[in-house]
Symmetry: C2
Subunit: 278 residues, 2 copies
């Protein structure tokens, strides 16, 4: 019974699934399966009941979790008590605005957790930085680009909007339509000229920067907006998402970093995290 196994056990417990825990721990699923098996063999107890939809803890699993959490945190604080003079690691990360609060904050949380003594400074995407999360178009000379997410764009409509009756929208539908402009946005700079080229003139009601604001305006009935297809958006009851016919809008967001800085531990860790984003 070592700390590695206990850590994995806790992760499995808290994720309710071996696969999910493996993703959270950044290891392959069989590694976790094996570690869990070892732990169970050593304790002579079954800790989880394996089901096709994840695992559920047994009574022994519950009992172990109670103690394991306490033990691990004691271990952490013991280790921390020796971290008197850890060198602070400064890291400047440039961020474009419209990339989704949810997944971004999760990425940053993991980034911070993985680097001892990290001081993370978030700056504007065009500022000088150790790394930037941007679209390929913003790349500078000497920078390496590592794709993270590819988002398709949809049209967000207020619930109850007449166009919500259609399964997908055509360009013609936008003529005179109340539209919310969101910049800077790759999709917008593809989409808007396309409208103009077709002689379609929408009614632009606002120009804002973040997806969250755009959705707020949509929900308020100000107009419709072009937004990336995040999973969380589908759960909102106040907006309806519809694909565009005829034109495919998508963008890629990735990590840009100076080739010369590869090898720096914080950056390497960030690159690893980015690679593992689905």
């Amino acid at each position: 019974m070592d700390l590695r196994q206990l850590n994995y056990f806790v992760a499995v417990y808290e994720n309710g699934s071996i696969s999910a825990a493996a993703r959270a721990c950044h290891v392959a699923q069989p590694s976790l399966s094996a570690a869990l098996q070892q732990l169970e063999d050593e304790l002579g107890a079954v800790l989880f009941i394996r089901q096709s939809r994840g695992v559920t803890p047994t009574e022994d699993g519950e009992r172990l979790y109670g103690h394991a959490g306490r033990l691990l945190s004691q271990m952490q604080s013991l280790k921390a008590s020796f971290r008197h003079s850890v060198k602070r690691v400064q890291f400047r990360l440039g961020l474009i605005r419209a990339l989704g609060v949810e997944r971004m904050s999760q990425l940053l949380r993991e980034f911070s957790a993985g680097v001892e003594g990290l001081e993370l400074h978030l700056v504007e995407p065009e500022d000088e930085a150790d790394a930037r999360i941007i679209t390929p178009k913003m790349l500078k000379a000497g920078e390496q680009f590592l794709p993270i997410w590819t988002d398709h764009f949809l049209i967000a409509l207020p619930a109850g909007h007449p166009l919500a009756l259609k399964q997908s929208l055509q360009l013609e539908d936008f003529d005179g339509l109340a539209l919310i402009k969101r910049t800077p946005c790759d999709a917008w700079s593809q989409f808007y000229p396309e409208l103009i080229r077709n002689g379609i003139q929408p009614d632009i009601r606002a120009d804002i920067h973040t997806i969250e604001y755009a959705l707020g305006l949509v929900s308020a009935g100000v107009g419709v907006a072009l937004v990336p297809d995040f999973d969380v958006l589908h759960e909102r009851q106040d907006v309806v998402l519809r694909p565009l016919q005829d034109v495919t809008l998508q963008r890629t967001i990735g990590l840009a970093y100076p080739r010369s800085k590869a090898g720096q531990p914080a950056l390497d860790w960030l690159r690893l995290l980015c690679q593992q984003q689905s």
Copy 2:
């Protein structure tokens, strides 16, 4: 920082020396040195001051020990709380009598500690057993023999006995000498016939079985006795040890076990312990 390293750290602390801790943990000394180094690197603190005569803990070492001990014992009790229905392992060990309480009890302590749920039954050396600690002469067919200790024999004299003035004793010195017989004993069965062959007739005052009793009688002035050369005996002020000239008496004590039972975990562990006896 894993439990292995913490365990080693505690062992080093409690033994006051890396080498001694390595012996206690049944690993080679460099393994411990390396683990300790890792721990110090990770914590960024020096835990022990290395001296030529062992190590002494620093302030950080003292602090870590306070917490590490508590953590490890919590870990142990957590593990123990799952050992509800461990299969009891029965083990019958045959022991000849005269092999020295000190080293024997230490061996048995380590044996018990290393086998989960061990029920150790000590039986007479000639009884049916899973293993026996005996001299090679007592070997039965189909048994493997693994030497553990080789003892040289000395003569134990009461302090102040006239023969104590000599640095070593000759056979002639035994003519008419008050002698304590200890059987069964390999050395005795070599030595006594040798005396008779030379026409020397000692005065046998007692016949007992264990070394401790023999020494008690020597100390009481009943006579002199033939005893194996244990280190602890040299520390006694009430008896004097002298080698025998002309004749070398020694015995080998070892572990005898049925070849067929090799592979059984308890026996394998015992074999390992026996191999590591100095």
